[in-house]
Amino acid sequence: MAVDITLLFRASVKTVKTRNKALGVAVGGGVDGSRDELFRRSPRPKGDFSSRAREVISHIGKLRDFLLEHRKDYINAYSHTMSDYGRMTDSERDQIDQDAQIFMRTCSEAIQQLRTEAHKEIHSQQVKEHRTAVLDFIEDYLKRVCKLYSEQRAIRVKRVVDKKRLSKLEPEPNTKTRESTSSEKVSPSPSKDSEENPATEEHPEKILAEAQPELGTWGDGKGEDELSPEEIQMFEQENQRLIGEMNSLFDEVRQIEGRVVEISRLQEIFTEKVLQQEAEIDSIHQLVVGATENIKEGNEDIREAIKNNAGFRVWILFFLVMCSFSLLFLDWYDS
């Protein structure tokens, strides 16, 4: 249980001030003090680093607010109740997706830029560490906000897939209705842009688009000519066969869709892990390079040492020889 003694502190500041005034000590206090403080603050390196970091944070905050605001509308009202409120068309949803992605891209670019610039002018180790940590925090924040977005997106994709699955429950009598629903879906498909998840949707959309002209021609063909009963029967059999084929194709395609979604999720996880490992491998690489440098230098040192040793020996030998010569000389000189 902590006790807040800030008030006590301010009180002691006042007492010290009055005491200093009484003693006549000229210490910056009162109005002068605040002015001094202002003065002192401006030449201090306010650091455009921190102001820019705060800008990025406010951007991300705006993105988050935007996403949260429209979240309810986005997820809600997939039912075909024609309520006016809160019903978003798919195009609006696409718009939101696009905007969010552009935003996220600019934010991550800004963070990268800050990262490269942060280490340029600063020499102090602590400040570098501090800035790296700050940038990590901001990235983490961005990731959390992006998670909001991708959750929304995942729910939407899932709903589309489920809807398609449901609409194929009764294949034979519903061919006409399927035509109508698939025609509905073909129209929004070209307007979707291809990012990770919509890639899965494009594939089945294309198949639907291909299937539709077939059905269309088949439907047209049926209405135009007059057919003999045998031909009718033949055509009917062909119809059955085609329907069966289409069904199985659709089943397979549906399954593939689901699997591909899962696989893409897994891919995300894998890329994350691989990127982590890349960082580690980089550091190991650095260490190894440093180690080879050290070994090279070590070798050089050893070589020099050997040389010195040899040189030293030569000098010793020389000195001894000179001493003995001088002794001989002295001896000869003396006698």
């Binding site: 249980m1 902590a2 006790v3 800030t6 006590l8 403080e37 650091g47 921190s50 899962e262």
Partner: protein, 641 residues
Amino acid sequence: MATATASSASIRERQTVALKRMLNFNVPHVKNSTGEPVWKVLIYDRFGQDIISPLLSVKELRDMGITLHLLLHSDRDPIPDVPAVYFVMPTEENIDRMCQDLRNQLYESYYLNFISAISRSKLEDIANAALAASAVTQVAKVFDQYLNFITLEDDMFVLCNQNKELVSYRAINRPDITDTEMETVMDTIVDSLFCFFVTLGAVPIIRCSRGTAAEMVAVKLDKKLRENLRDARNSLFTGDTLGAGQFSFQRPLLVLVDRNIDLATPLHHTWTYQALVHDVLDFHLNRVNLEETSGVENSPAGARPKRKNKKSYDLTPVDKFWQKHKGSPFPEVAESVQQELESYRAQEDEVKRLKSIMGLEGEDEGAISMLSDNTAKLTSAVSSLPELLEKKRLIDLHTNVATAVLEHIKARKLDVYFEYEEKIMSKTTLDKSLLDIISDPDAGTPEDKMRLFLIYYISTQQAPSEADLEQYKKALTDAGCNLNPLQYIKQWKAFTKMASAPASYGSTTTKSMGLLSRVMNTGSQFVMEGVKNLVLKQQNLPVTRILDNLMEMKSNPETDDYRYFDPKMLRGNDSSVPRNKNPFQEAIVFVVGGGNYIEYQNLVDYIKGKQGKHILYGCSELFNATQFIKQVKYTFVVCFC
């Protein structure tokens, strides 16, 4: 927090919550997944470091938004636009350094938190410096945190680590101590205990034995609590952290004991995991430092000596294996590590099998349906990978630690010592004579032998005869021991004999499962041949017995004349008659002069059997037998008859 069971929240949680709140600028911490990041810098001194390090890991600090954590007295560079949180003790040097920081304008705003209460004059010093530096508005908040103790476990705390010598056993029991020094020591202890109770949020009922250092502590603590309660405006024990239910029912019992009632337990050889690690390896503040020798190399003469790798491991509450097994006897621990290793390997094989299945998938086209559950399995395998890795790390950690402990046990034959000491302490018949063990050259270090002999000396009812004593002394000096501790123990024994009868240690039996267990154990990775599989039987150490008597209001000649203090009562009276006749639900045992893990484990075992009761264990310092003997060696009495 204002429920009746709040007092049973563990002390560790409370301290962690208090620390997190402090780090969050003293606003209660709320987890918000899409909150904006706020960054700050944490500055602490060595006391603060000791308090924070067992509770919060670096990752948790990061989660709270701390980008840098630095020591107060290191060189720090100015980092603009960052609020700084200080967590220091209000000593002269710390205050000077903080004033210097204010003058150098290192950070943007300052949140000052003092570990224990700061005096008015020092506060004015800071105010002075802040005025001189025109930085008064920068000092955003000043707090007294009252966190001057270190929590090691959920229910165990220690007073301090940095100035251990000030409150060590030796400092308190030194014969040449002066009154003023004693006063300072007592004040330090009482300050920490007071902080502890403020954090706990309860006012205890204090009981202590007469005539010991514990009594002095009790008197002072009672006085301090009483003063604080009197001052109703500023009392620390009212407020929203206390519910109404705290007052009459759940008041805890504080039992203050002195180390001198039981000197055998610190010397005892032990057999439970945590106590062994503390005894045999370098273990403090929940961190073990191991030295691993690198493999044998053919080192040519004159080359550098073999390099030893130092490794340190943190044993934290997150480590589930540690939490489960820290009180188990060592062979159980070895088996459990084996089991964990095998289950981990099984899981690893499972994952590898999935990998091979996925590899085959590409060739078989008709297997799309199989693909579906395999992707699901793969997803679950991938998501469970971090858990698996964590498990592997823990298993490695415990394998290393247990192997190191096992090496020591084998080298010093600690199991033999343990068994023998248990027998001595429970006064069953001894099969081997003491002299044999002492003169046995390869059973343990000289210190082990000294410990054994001291325990024997302490627990015999009558002193051994002079001739025997001489024999023992000779054997001990042959084995290489220093005989100084023996002097001290002699004096202690004489002193306590005057005061009261020496404590008896209760009955215990140890079973040594011989051949069969050895056969079973050779299959396991830890080759435990020769290390007997000793089974611990429940026995109550003296401290536990005293606690039992006081908590259950049992009448016992030993504890009947303990003093009774209740800071909430209006008149401080000296009666030994407890007013409260009901057994207590919560108790705090505090040992003045030093404690150890053996007592802690004993208390934990004791309380396991009782439903709904909680015990907290605290001591002024934590030492193992080696450190204790070192302290006792130099505690001489110049002249004592």
